[in-house]
């Protein structure tokens, strides 16, 4: 049973005029966006843009100063317990117990989300399989590599089968091979229908994974939409082309000789869009 406001349909997230202040400083300043079920939203922005604060508000940990927020049809503050049962959060830090085994870590977090008995065992096995850690399930987490810990950190948030998962830089601090492994795991989850909110500084990951992108700067949305919409919205090509004016006679002669004319558009990549929207100035840490 879900609370009256909870829905299985409709947008996964609705944010309208969200403001979050810390003292005089507005970490989020009038943010609006939606996320549909089954979509992956990339939340991008330089350090201090308000990405983590946005996730904290959406995941019940931080109250908004103003604005309306609905997550899975629920109010994150008034219906926090009900919402927490339906969302998963992968924190930026490795929120694991180093001196417990991988299986013990997962079993503990599973129990904290109300799992028990055979169901718990089943979900822990599933998570270990997904993370590729079945063979190391009984090793202490402190003996794991950075990539293994990252994978475990992710699946620990999935045990209770959340409908929506927030991932705050889940691939940070690992080597390219491990990052790729972690990212492929996330891609697989999304392909299976999991709704995701994903923050990262790896823009290539967002290009590959996300259906929609919100670019934040100083707590405001400076651009949002699909990747293509953002690229086109920039109105500027990544490359410049020379324009050649030909008269009809010359053109006919060249075409007769086998020359073809085609109009091509090379759109800017996400990094170029990002830098264009947020500028190149260095930012303080969030």
């Amino acid at each position: 049973m879900h609370p009256p406001g909870a829905t299985r349909n409709g947008p996964a997230i609705e944010v309208r005029g969200l403001v979050r202040r810390f003292g005089a400083r507005a970490a989020i300043d009038g943010l609006d966006f939606d996320l549909q079920r089954g979509e992956a939203l990339g939340l991008l922005g330089p350090n201090g843009a308000g990405k983590t604060t946005t996730i904290r508000v959406l995941s019940t940990l931080c109250a908004p100063s103003a604005g309306n927020v609905r997550v899975l049809g629920l109010d994150p503050q008034r219906e926090a317990a009900a919402l927490r049962a339906r969302i998963g959060v992968v924190p930026q830090e490795l929120a694991l117990y180093d001196t417990l085994r991988a299986r013990e870590n997962l079993a503990f977090y599973g129990r904290m989300h109300g799992l028990s008995g055979a169901r718990l065992e089943q979900r822990v096995d599933w998570a270990l399989e997904l993370a590729g850690l079945r063979d190391r399930a009984l090793d202490l987490v402190r003996t794991y590599s950075g990539g293994m810990k990252r994978r475990l950190n992710i699946v620990a948030a999935l045990l209770h089968e959340p409908e929506l998962v927030f991932m705050d830089e889940p691939t940070v601090g690992v080597d390219p091979q491990s990052r790729n492994h972690v990212f492929e795991m996330v891609e697989r989850l999304h392909a299976e229908g999991l709704t995701l909110v994903y923050t990262t500084h790896q823009l290539g990951e967002v290009e590959r994974l996300c259906d929609r992108i919100v670019i934040l700067d100083a707590g405001r949305s400076v651009g949002q939409g699909t990747l293509a919409e953002l690229q086109r919205g920039q109105g500027r090509a990544a490359k410049a082309y020379a324009r050649v004016e030909l008269d009809e006679r010359t053109r006919a002669r060249l075409e007769g000789a086998g020359l073809e004319f085609r109009v091509e558009e090379e759109l800017p990549n996400l990094e170029a869009v990002f830098l264009a929207l947020t500028g190149r100035a260095l930012r303080d840490e969030e």
Binding site: S59, T60, L61, C62, A63, Q77, A81, A82, R84, A85, I87, V89, P91, Q92, E93, L94, A95, L96, Y97, Y109, M112, H113, G114, A156, A157
Partner: protein
């Protein structure tokens, strides 16, 4: 060159040290503070001598002679005399280290064949106090200004040690002629020397108090500590209880500090995201910390019982209930400190300071009965003092649950207040979404 490099490193470490207020506090201020507490406990400020021994006096005689004697006792710099009744029970309950009972008719019978004995009820566990008391009794009797009394005491003392005046002709007159000189010398010198105040003679082979009692013709009855009481077992039961309470506090603050550890490593945020992840987290920490503390106490008291024969099985129920109250209070305090500390390092520094001071003030290191009254009152603002009173009550004074109910109630009250503070700090710092 090596020296120059070493000097550079040394300067760097000094710079780091001076910026670490906790390290500075522990290294420089804490020793001074603890030394002050010890010195104050043992002698008061300004070199004012040793703490006064609390002596109950039950004057059933109420004669001029007995009143003079009591007045002389009250003049002693080493005694705090309190007129009291039912003194035997009060000593047995640990309310004071000793009580002197002057029987009815004592003054009138003095020097006669039916001379009545004074009775000294004492707590043999209060080792140092007995020596101080003994040092004060004789000068008080001699100085009470009653020639007949003093003479009687001296003669009795000599007789006690096998030197009866009646056995040697002429001895009585020799005794009488030297009496005045002896008396004035005693008043001049003996009263100013609290003979065994430093407890040097306090080993079991030399009971100064008993010897003095024999001299003054006094009956001594040890009324605390049970049949097998000895100074050694009193010290041991105090040591086990004292260390247990102090280490409990250290252990439980460390356990409470796992909140900060979880906060730093990010697991606390993940726990908060569980559906019931609010008050349940603090309650879980309380349960962990309390059960750890209880296990710590059980192990230590069992060890004390097996290895040092501390009577921990005399009343297991009373020990179990008191330990529950002690653990609850210590857990609440540990968690309250933990949730208000900004970092694990700050918690360790501050809690070390608080626990050492509480242990010194609260009698974990030395019995409060040996300290001045103001010190004892101050000490009872700490949970250590109430815990020590309770444990000593059971282990040394043989009290049951009914005898330590006050300690249990006070400790539970401390637990309640500390837990409320912990809960408030927890909500404000870790659960607030504002």
């Amino acid at each position: 060159m090596k020296l120059a490099t070493a000097w550079i490193l040394c300067r760097k470490d000094w710079r780091l040290f001076l910026r670490d207020r906790t390290a500075m506090l522990l290294s420089l201020a804490l020793p001074v503070f603890l030394a002050t507490i010890f010195a104050a406990a043992m002698g008061g400020f300004g070199g004012g001598g040793v703490g006064r021994v609390h002596l109950l006096v039950e004057d059933l005689d109420s004669s001029a002679r007995s009143k003079n004697f009591v007045a002389e006792l009250a003049k002693s710099e080493t005694l705090r005399v309190e007129a009291a009744q039912d003194t035997r029970r009060r000593i047995a309950d640990g309310k004071a280290p000793a009580a002197l009972v002057i029987p009815a008719g004592w003054g009138a019978a003095l020097g006669s064949a039916q001379q009545l004995q004074l009775t000294l009820y004492r707590d043999p566990g209060a080792t140092i106090e007995q020596q101080i008391l003994a040092g004060a009794l004789l000068p008080a009797l001699l100085g009470s200004g009653d020639e007949e009394l003093a003479r009687s005491i001296a003669m009795h003392g000599m007789s006690e040690f096998g030197f009866s005046l009646e056995q040697f002709p002429g001895m009585r007159s020799l005794f009488d002629s030297t009496w005045d000189a002896f008396g004035s010398w005693a008043r001049e010198h003996v009263s100013k020397q609290p003979a065994a105040a430093d407890g040097k003679e306090a080993d079991e082979g030399f009971d100064f108090a008993r010897i003095v009692s024999r001299i003054v013709g006094m009956r001594v009855e040890d009324v605390a500590g049970g049949e097998d009481a000895s100074q050694k077992s009193a010290m041991q039961s105090h040591a086990i209880s004292g260390i247990a309470v102090m280490m409990l506090l250290f252990g439980l603050v460390a356990a409470g500090g796992t909140i900060l550890e979880e906060h730093d490593q990010g697991t606390l945020q993940r726990l908060r995201l569980a559906p019931e992840g609010g008050a349940a987290i603090l309650l879980g920490k309380f349960l962990f910390t309390a059960t750890l503390g209880y296990a710590q106490l059980v192990i230590l008291f069992l060890y004390g019982g097996v290895v040092f024969s501390i009577p921990v099985f005399r009343d297991p129920l009373a020990i179990a209930v008191l330990s529950l109250a002690v653990v609850s209070a210590a857990t609440g305090m540990g968690l309250a400190l933990a949730v208000h500390a900004q970092s694990r390092k700050q918690l360790e520094g501050f809690s070390t300071l608080v626990i050492l001071v509480m242990s010194a003030l609260g009698g974990s290191w030395f019995p409060l009965i040996a300290t001045p009254e103001w010190y004892r009152k101050l000490g009872h603002f700490t949970l250590n003092a109430w815990a020590m009173d309770g444990y000593q009550g059971i282990l040394w004074y043989g009290k049951g649950l009914s005898g330590i109910w006050l300690e249990v109630v006070v400790l539970l009250a401390i637990a309640l207040v500390a837990s409320a503070l912990a809960s408030r700090g927890w909500k404000r710092r870790f659960l607030s979404t504002g």
